[in-house]
C-alpha cells in the first residue's frame, strides 16, 4: 500500500500555509473595511435605508400694519384611495360620492383603478375630511395639508400675490419674502427595506417643522379697502380699463394702500375675472394680465402731474421764481414745432404760480428750456426718475426715457410737461414725495418687520433714504404752489373739507395721439403745509369726461375724506 511521503506532507503544509496567509490577508482587509471605512459605508447604508417623510411647514402669515392677518393658512384634506387595501368598494364609492358630492361613476372608476394610490380629491375642507375619516374605511386615506388662505379675497391681490402647489410664493410679496415666509420643513426619518416598506419597531427620528415668519406690512386694511372701493366706483362709472391708487407715507415710504382695480380673488388666482373672460384670449396671457400690478409693472406718460418735477427743477436752478410773469398765446414754437397749450385760446399774462394752477404748457416749455438739458436730467436723477424705486415687489419696470445725449430742444420741451417718456406711477409718487417732504428721496415699500411664530422679532426691514435732494426753500414754495392748484386751480375737485390739500392733475393722451384714449390722473398730498400722506389715482381709458381734475381728483378726495380723520391727521385751522 502506498503511503503519504514526506514531500507530500511538506506540500500539504505549504498549501495550507498559503491558504492561511490568504485568509490572514482577508482578515486585514476586513479590519480595514470594518474599522476604517465603517463610518463612511455605514452612512451610505443609512442613506439607502432611511426614508424621509416631510412634515410640511406652515407658511408664515402676512399682516397689515395693525397686525390684522391678510394671508394665512387653512388646513385642507386630500382624499385618496389605496386599491389593494379596499375591502368594501361599494361602501367606499357611496360614502365618497356623497361626502365629496362628486359623480358616482367617476369615483367608481378611480376606486376600481388598479394603482398604488389614486387621488380622489384635493383641497377639500377639513370638516369633510374629518367626516370621511369617521367612517374608518380601509383603503381610504385622508391626508391633511396646508393651503394658503386670504381672508379678504380680492384685497390688495396684486400686491400680496399668491402661492403655488407646493406653497411657494409665485408673485407679489409672497415671492419677494419667500425666505421669511416659507418656514422650515420638518421630517420623519424611518428605516425601510429594499422595497421601501417601512420597518416597525425601529425608532423613528422626528424633526418638527417650523412655521415661517410673520411678515408685517405697511398696508392698512382700512385704507386699502377705502382705496379699493373708491377705485372700484370710478372704474365702474367711467368704464375704465383699470384704476390704480397708491397711498404712501410721504416721509418714510411706507405704502399704506395700493390697489389696481379690477383686482382678482387670491383664493382662486387661476380663475379669470368676469371682464377678462369676456375679452377672451390665450388663457395664460389673460392670467398674466390679470395678475399685473400696473402701479409697478407698467409705465405711462405722466402728463401734467410731471410739471411738479419741472417746476421743482426750475425753482431749484433759479430758472424761474414764483412771481415771474409769462404770456401764453395758446401755443409755443420750439425750433420748427408749434406746441399747443390745452387752452387753445391761450392763458394770456400769468405768473408762474398761476401758470401752474392753469397747468399751462407754453410756460412749462419755457421753464424747461431755461433749465436746460443738463440741469433737467440732474433733477430727474435726484428725484429718482432715472432709476427704479426699489420697491419690495418683483418685476418693477424702469422708466422709458430719452438718452440725455439725444435730447434736443423739442424733446426737452415735451418732457417739461410730462410727454414723450414713460415712468411708473410709483416713480412719480416717490419723486413728488421727495419734493414736498423736505427733500428726502425714500424707497417705497411694504415690508416693515418679520417675526417668528412666538412673536419674537426676526428682522426690521431698513430702506435706503437720500436726504437733501431739494432745498428747503423750494420745498416750501412747491407746497405753496401745489396747495394753490387744489384750492384755486385745476385740482379744485380734490378739496377735502377741513384739510389743506396739495396736488396736481393730469390728463394724458395715450399713444397714438389721435386714438381718443386718455389717462386721467391726480396726485395729492395732505396736509399741504406739512405733508404726511400722498396718494395718486390713475384712471386708464375712462369713457366720457376724461379730465384728471374732473374725474381723478374726486377719487382722492373721497379717499382722503375717509382716511385723513382715520389717521388722526390734524385739520387745518
Amino acid at each position: 500500500m502506498l503511503t503519504f511521503k514526506t514531500y507530500n506532507r511538506k506540500k500539504t503544509v505549504v498549501y495550507t500555509g498559503i491558504i492561511i496567509v490568504l485568509l490572514a490577508f482577508l482578515m486585514v482587509r476586513l479590519v480595514y473595511i470594518m474599522v476604517f471605512e465603517s463610518e463612511y459605508l455605514g452612512k451610505k447604508a443609512d442613506e439607502i435605508h432611511e426614508r424621509e417623510r416631510y412634515i410640511k411647514a406652515a407658511r408664515g402669515d402676512i399682516t397689515d400694519i395693525n397686525g390684522n392677518i391678510i394671508a394665512t393658512n387653512k388646513t385642507v384634506c386630500t382624499i385618496s384611495v389605496i386599491h389593494s387595501q379596499i375591502d368594501d368598494p361599494e361602501k367606499v364609492i357611496s360614502v365618497l360620492s356623497e361626502k365629496l358630492s362628486m359623480d358616482r361613476d367617476k369615483i367608481k372608476e378611480l376606486v376600481e383603478k388598479v394603482s398604488a394610490r389614486e387621488k380622489i380629491k384635493s383641497n377639500c375642507p377639513k370638516e369633510i375630511g374629518d367626516e370621511i375619516r369617521e367612517y374608518n374605511l380601509s383603503g381610504v386615506k385622508v391626508d391633511e395639508d396646508y393651503k394658503r388662505y386670504y381672508p379678504y379675497d380680492e384685497m390688495a391681490s396684486k400686491v400680496l400675490g399668491f402661492t403655488g402647489a407646493d406653497n411657494q410664493g409665485i408673485i407679489g410679496l409672497e415671492v419677494q419674502y419667500e425666505k421669511y415666509l416659507k418656514g422650515k420643513d420638518g421630517y420623519i426619518l424611518t428605516e425601510t427595506d429594499a422595497g421601501g416598506i417601512e420597518l416597525e419597531n425601529v425608532a423613528e427620528k422626528r424633526i418638527e417643522s417650523v412655521k415661517g415668519n410673520t411678515l408685517r406690512t405697511s398696508i392698512d386694511i382700512n385704507i386699502q379697502m377705502y382705496a379699493q372701493q373708491a377705485a372700484e366706483k370710478v372704474y365702474t362709472m367711467k368704464k375704465a380699463r383699470y384704476v390704480s391708487i397708491i397711498m404712501m407715507n410721504v416721509n418714510n415710504g411706507e405704502i399704506m394702500a395700493m390697489t389696481n382695480v379690477p383686482e382678482y380673488n387670491l383664493n382662486s388666482p387661476y380663475e379669470l375675472t368676469d371682464d377678462l373672460k369676456q375679452k377672451g384670449g390665450k388663457e395664460q396671457d389673460m392670467l398674466n394680465k390679470m395678475w399685473r400690478n400696473q402701479c409697478i409693472n407698467d409705465t405711462y406718460e405722466p402728463g401734467s402731474t410731471f410739471k411738479v418735477i419741472t417746476a421743482t427743477a426750475g425753482l431749484e436752478t433759479g430758472a424761474v421764481t414764483l412771481n415771474d410773469t409769462f404770456s401764453c398765446p395758446g401755443y409755443k414754437i420750439v425750433e420748427d414745432r408749434r406746441i399747443r397749450c390745452h387752452k387753445t385760446t391761450g392763458h394770456g399774462s400769468e405768473t408762474f404760480v398761476q401758470a401752474t394752477m392753469n397747468s399751462c404748457n407754453p410756460v412749462f416749455i419755457e421753464v424747461g428750456l431755461r433749465i436746460g438739458v443738463d440741469n433737467f436730467y440732474e433733477y430727474l436723477k435726484k428725484l429718482g426718475i432715472l432709476s427704479k424705486t426699489g420697491v419690495d415687489l418683483p418685476g418693477e419696470a424702469s422708466a422709458i426715457i430719452h438718452k440725455k445725449e439725444n435730447v434736443g430742444q423739442v424733446e426737452l420741451a415735451t418732457m417739461s410737461f410730462g410727454q414723450s417718456f414713460q415712468i411708473t406711477p410709483l416713480q412719480l409718487l416717490r419723486a413728488v414725495s421727495a419734493v414736498i417732504n423736505g427733500g428726502k428721496l425714500v424707497t417705497p415699500h411694504f415690508a416693515v418687520s418679520a417675526s417668528d411664530c412666538e412673536g419674537k422679532s426676526v428682522k426690521d426691514f431698513q430702506y435706503k433714504e437720500i436726504s437733501g435732494v431739494i432745498k428747503e426753500e423750494t420745498v416750501n414754495n412747491m407746497r405753496y404752489v401745489l396747495e394753490k392748484v387744489v384750492s384755486e386751480g385745476g385740482g379744485k375737485n380734490g378739496i377735502v373739507e377741513g384739510y389743506d390739500i396739495g396736488g396736481k392733475t393730469a390728463t394724458s393722451q395715450k399713444l397714438p395721439r389721435n386714438s381718443g384714449k386718455y389717462i386721467s390722473s391726480f396726485i395729492g398730498f395732505a396736509p399741504a403745509s406739512d405733508p404726511e400722506v400722498i396718494a395718486i389715482c390713475i384712471i386708464d381709458e375712462p369713457e366720457g369726461v376724461y379730465y384728471g381734475g374732473t374725474i381723478a381728483a374726486p377719487v382722492i378726495k373721497e379717499l382722503y375724506e375717509n382716511v385723513l380723520p382715520y389717521l388722526n391727521i390734524d385739520k387745518s385751522d
Binding site: 503511503t3 503519504f4 491558504i19 485568509l23 476586513l30 470594518m34 427595506d193
Partner: protein, 382 residues
Amino acid sequence: MTENRNKKRNKKKTVSYFDYNLLFIIIFLIGFGLVMLYSTSSYTAQMKFGSSTYYLKKQIIAYMLGFAAMFLLIFVDYHVWKKFALWIYIGSLLSVLVVLSPLGVTLNGARRWINIGIGTVQPAEIVKLGLIIFLAFCIDRMSKGLRKAGIYIKLMLFVLVAVGMIFVITSNLSSAIIILGIGFVMLFVASPKYSHYVYTILAGAMCGGLFLLVEKLVLKSFRFNRFSVWLNPEEYAQSGGFQVLQALYAIGSGGILGKGLGNSIQKLGFVPEAQNDMIFTIICEELGLIGALAVIALFVFMIWRFMIIANNAPDLFGAMLVVGVLAHISLQVVLNIAVVTNTIPNTGVTLPLISYGGTSVLFIMCELGLVLSVSRRIRYEE
C-alpha cells in the same frame, strides 16, 4: 479478505482514533450557519413565500440528509470508493450533461440545475466530489509517474474535462475555477516536483490574460465588465456594482461589534440573495469584525485539522481524499470572503456549511464524511 478484516479489527482494538475536534467544528459551524441563515433569510422568505422559515426548513432537511450521508461514509471503509472511482467520475460528468436534457432547470438566467423531483441539484457540486475521489484514485495508482510531465499532463486533462464541461455547459465560471483549483492542488501535493506547477501557474496566468483581452476587445462580454466594477464599484452602482456595493455597505456598517444578531438592515432585500453567496456580509453586519474574524478562525482551524488528518493518513489514497476536500473547502472560503470584500472581482462562490444551498450542503457533508472516515484509520506510532 478475511485476513484483511482481521487486521482491521485488531487495529481497532489497539488504536481507536477519531477526529472529534473536526467533528465538533463541523457541528458548530453548521449550527452557527443555521442561525445566521435564519437571521439572514427570514424577512425575505416571509415577503416572498409567506413563511419566515422557508429557507431554514429546506436547509435543515439538506443537513439531515447530509448528516445521514456523512455518518454512512464515516463507517464505510473509504477504500471501497477506489473500486467505483472511475464510475463516480463518469457519473458526475454525466450529471452535468443532464442539465442539457429537459430535466435541466434555469434559475436567475443560468441553466445549472437538474430537477430530481423532490428538488433541484447542482451537478457542479457532484463533480467536485467525483473529481476528488477519482483523482485520489489515479494518484494512488500512478504516484510513481507523477514526476513525469506526461503523467502530470494526462491527469491534468481529466481535471480539464470536468472544468471545461462545467464552464461550457453550465457557464459557471466560479465552479469551474474551484474544480480546477481542487485538481491542481491535489496534483501539486501528490508530486515531488515544484517546477511543473510553477509553469502551470504561469501558463494559466497568460491564458487568463489573453482570455480577458479577447473578452474585452472581441466579445465585449460581461466578464470584463466585472473587472471595471471591481475596480470602481460605486461608479457602476446602477449596473453590475450593485451587489458588491450593497455587500460593502453591509460589512462596513457592522463596525467592530456589529449591530447585533438579527439587526441587519441590509438583509432586508438590499443585499440581493443575501442567504446565498453574500451571507458572510450579513454575519459582518450583525456580529461585527469580532464575529467575522471568529468565523474565519473557525475555518482556519478546520483547514488545519484537514492538514493534520492528511499528513497522518494511513495511505496515499486516504491522504489525497483529505487533500482534495481541504482544497475544495479552503478555496471556497478564500474566494467567498475575497468576493464579498471586493478583494477580487465578483463571482458566485458559496461559503461552505453556512450559505444556503441543498446540493452544496449534501456533498460537502459527504466530503467531510470521507475525511472523518480517513481519520478513523489513523494509527498512532508506538
